[in-house]
């Protein structure tokens, strides 16, 4: 192996081509289906079904070895079919448990663990008698992309293509039935049909995925890209595309990470690709949860904090304008924010030249500060006047509304209000409204 291990060698090198392209295809399919399952709130059904494939894989391996020894292509097909069959059985199991009025949660947990139990029984049999077969089964625990060949590429390409085409064909029905179930029913899209179609897709996607990500971590690849995409966009088409891209990027990076770790260690460590891929996908999802421009918590938090601070600044300036000079002690006494926040804000105002310390802990406004404060007071009083004159509010109900609105009124609205109220000089409480020309 050469030392300079480029990114593009992954696609060309015959050793890496299989795993990389194979897992790209698999993540394309799983991320798309996972996104649809996410919208249908079926994420955890994926978890149950992916565990349910395990006995199918074992039976598939046994059948393939007994009936078609030395025929790799058929063996792979048999294995995949076995996995699909038991995933389908798992689906039936969940449905029939729900029919005897058990809780959905328990039904999933039951299906997951009972199928896994059957799988463990079969594989423990292999472990004792056919160690070579058992090794093949073991690959499906946590996924091992490194041993995939061109054969896998063809197989997964066909399956993923099938999944994509199916989604494209039924795109409108899925979209309609998710966003407006009643309308969907009325134009003849049956909810049950769409739902079972999604379940079938879920089974196929899981079957594609288990070879690279493994039975146990399959859910991660279904959920994480969907979560990341959902927090970035709200358009359905964009959501699907983004989910697919995020899935593929994490599969690529996951493979890269796994192969890097295999080579860099002093000893050979076979890092399974499943965990590496899932860690990267979940990392992207967490980043999206925190940093997404529209819905990220951190972004929202910062925005909220900034707004709170600008409100505090406005209120402080207004209060100082009314009181001329104020001691720090008095400001604390108003109880408008916690001490630390107040202190920071006062320091910022001082640095901005709005505020000056006249003597020790006595604050007064500068000329600029007075102008800005007067502007805030003008906005407040204009809004109060507007409420009374045009919206017929009574005098004792207008203060709170104005206290909130003064932070939102833009210069354009202010101009319109001035025109509408005929450039007033007094507010409803007979207080003077600061003149615009003086500010």
């Amino acid at each position: 192996m050469s030392d300079s291990f480029g990114f593009f060698t992954l696609f060309c090198d015959p050793v890496f081509r299989g795993p990389v392209i194979g897992s790209l295809l698999m993540s394309l399919a799983t991320a798309l289906v996972g996104a649809i399952a996410f919208l249908g709130r079926k994420s955890l059904i994926g978890e149950a079904l992916s565990h349910a494939t395990f006995p199918g894989v074992v039976v598939g391996v046994i059948l393939a070895e007994v009936i078609f020894p030395e025929q790799e292509a058929i063996a792979l097909l048999v294995m995949l079919f076995g996995a699909f069959a038991t995933a389908f059985l798992g689906q039936l199991c969940i449905e029939s448990i729900l029919k005897i009025r058990q809780k959905a949660d328990a039904a999933l947990c039951y299906t997951l663990s009972s199928f896994l139990g059957v799988g463990v029984v079969f594989s423990s049999y292999l472990q004792q008698s056919h160690v070579a077969w058992y090794r093949k089964v073991q690959l499906f625990f946590y996924g091992q992309a490194a041993t995939m060949t061109d054969l896998h590429i063809y197989m997964y390409a066909a399956l993923s293509l099938g999944v994509c085409i199916a989604i494209l064909l039924l795109y409108r029905s899925i979209q309609t039935s998710f966003f407006d179930p009643v309308f969907a029913e009325s134009i003849g899209i049956r909810k049950k049909v769409v739902s079972s179609f999604v379940s079938a897709l879920l089974c196929v996607a899981i079957v594609i995925g288990i070879r690279t990500v493994g039975v146990v971590l399959m859910t991660g690849m279904l959920i994480a890209p969907a979560v990341a995409a959902r927090y970035v966009t709200s358009r359905f088409s964009m959501f699907l595309q983004l989910s697919a891209w995020i899935g593929m990027v994490s599969a690529l990076l996951g493979n890269y990470l796994a192969s890097e770790m295999i080579m860099k260690g002093s000893q050979l460590v076979y890092l399974p690709t499943g965990p590496a891929t899932v860690i990267i996908a979940s990392g992207i999802a967490l980043l999206a949860l925190l940093l997404s421009p529209s819905r990220g918590s951190l972004v929202k938090g910062v925005r909220r904090w900034r707004f709170r601070r600008s409100c505090l600044i406005d209120n402080l300036l207004k209060a100082l304008w009314k009181h001329e000079t104020v001691s720090l002690h008095q400001i604390y006494g108003w109880n408008i924010a916690n001490k630390w926040f107040l202190h920071r804000t006062l320091a910022t105002l001082q640095r901005g030249g709005w505020l000056q310390k006249t003597s020790k802990s006595i604050y007064g406004l500068t000329e600029d500060g007075r102008k800005r404060a007067a502007y805030m007071v003008r906005l407040h009083r204009l809004w109060e006047l507007y409420l009374v004159q045009h919206l017929d509010h009574s005098l004792d109900h207008i203060h709170h509304s104005a206290e909130e609105m003064e932070h939102f009124i833009t210069p354009t609205i202010e101009n319109k209000l001035t025109k509408l109220l005929l450039d007033p000089t007094q507010d409803p409480h007979n207080q003077p409204i600061p003149k615009k020309e003086l500010l």
Partner: protein, 332 residues
């Protein structure tokens, strides 16, 4: 020499009950227990604890959170392993004992529940997705850490399959403490759990804190997961948490009765499971994983009980019909 050597299904029960009697009377000391008995005791104790906790999990609809914990327990064990290694550096030797598992359980329960809550409450993610996202990430981290540091891929397999043949007497003691602690906790907080499960609003007004009990329940689940980790692997204990409980919910709806019935059902399943494994080994020379066979037996308890309930209903109906017709004849 294992006294069960060469025993088939019926023999197994005969020998087991004879030896159980002997152990109770004191003729056979605990140290002389055969491996099959150790397995039965460990599994039985875990199953009783699971039945109590599982009832609450199923009724409160948080079974999938238990599934999440069964995954993340791996990371908990790895982390506590590192912690203990770091602590025992000064002593010069590594302490590898059951305390470590206890630390692991607590860490896992806290981290998993807290992170899932964080995703749900702060990030406003839907519940299913937040459970799925958190446990897959933590489990993946666990697997990577285990593979990189232990340079051992088999450990990963053991997480799924368990290693029931490696159990010994210490494990009986450990799982006894686990079961006792869990049953005692459930008994102690039974009222609170019950009210919380059926009417959270009422529970709040009566002053019991839902979040606290949620964490407590998850802690208990995670204790069981730790106890089961060596015996049946991280995932198979889930079947003992759900299947017997679901089966006994078909028969009764009283919470305490569900617990008792579930324990009984899982005990029977374990006995049958171990006996079947022994039978297969003796008669057909097939060595199967005891953990797997017992959990399949436990899984089968649900359809069996369901069929039983159905059959009973049918018999009752026909009896009623016959009674009615007899009655009609009499009236004529």
């Amino acid at each position: 020499m294992n006294p069960y050597w060469g025993a088939d299904f019926i023999d197994f029960f005969l020998i087991f009950f004879a030896r159980l009697f002997a152990i109770c009377v004191g003729k056979i000391s605990f140290a002389d227990m055969a491996s099959d008995e150790v397995q039965i005791f460990v599994l039985g104790l875990i199953a009783i604890a699971s039945a109590c906790v599982g009832t609450l999990l199923v009724v409160k609809r948080v079974a999938m959170l238990a599934n999440a914990i069964s995954h993340t327990i791996l990371l908990g064990i790895v982390i506590s392993y590192f912690l203990l290694q770091w602590c025992s550096l000064e002593k010069g030797h590594l302490v590898f004992n059951h305390q470590m598992f206890f630390v692991a359980a607590v860490i896992t329960a806290l981290v998993t529940t807290a992170l899932t809550d964080l995703c749900k409450r702060v990030f406003k993610l839907q519940e299913e997705a937040s459970v799925g996202l958190v446990f897959t990430l933590l489990f993946a981290l666990g697997v990577v850490l285990v593979t990189v540091y232990s340079r051992n891929v088999h450990l990963g397999a053991e997480v799924i399959m368990g290693n029931i043949d490696a159990l010994h007497l210490d494990d009986v003691q450990f799982s006894f403490f686990l079961a006792a602690a869990n049953v005692a906790l459930v008994a102690l907080c039974f009222k609170q759990y019950q009210i919380l499960a059926f009417d959270e609003g009422l529970a709040k007004t009566l002053g019991c804190h839902p979040t606290f009990f949620q964490y407590l329940l998850m802690m208990q689940t995670s204790l069981i997961a730790v106890g089961a980790f060596r015996a049946v692997g991280a995932f198979l204990f889930l079947i003992f948490l759900t299947a017997p409980v679901m089966a006994s919910r078909l028969v009764t709806h009283k919470l305490s009765r569900v617990m008792v019935y579930a324990s009984l059902i899982s005990l029977v399943c374990i006995l049958v499971g171990v006996a079947i494994t022994r039978h297969l080994l003796t008669v057909y020379e097939i060595a199967l994983s005891t953990a797997g066979v017992t959990s399949v037996c436990a899984a089968l308890s649900l359809p069996c009980v369901w069929l039983g309930v159905k059959a009973r209903l049918k018999v009752l109906k026909t009896l009623q019909k016959r009674n009615l017709s007899l009655h009609n004849v009499g009236a004529k």
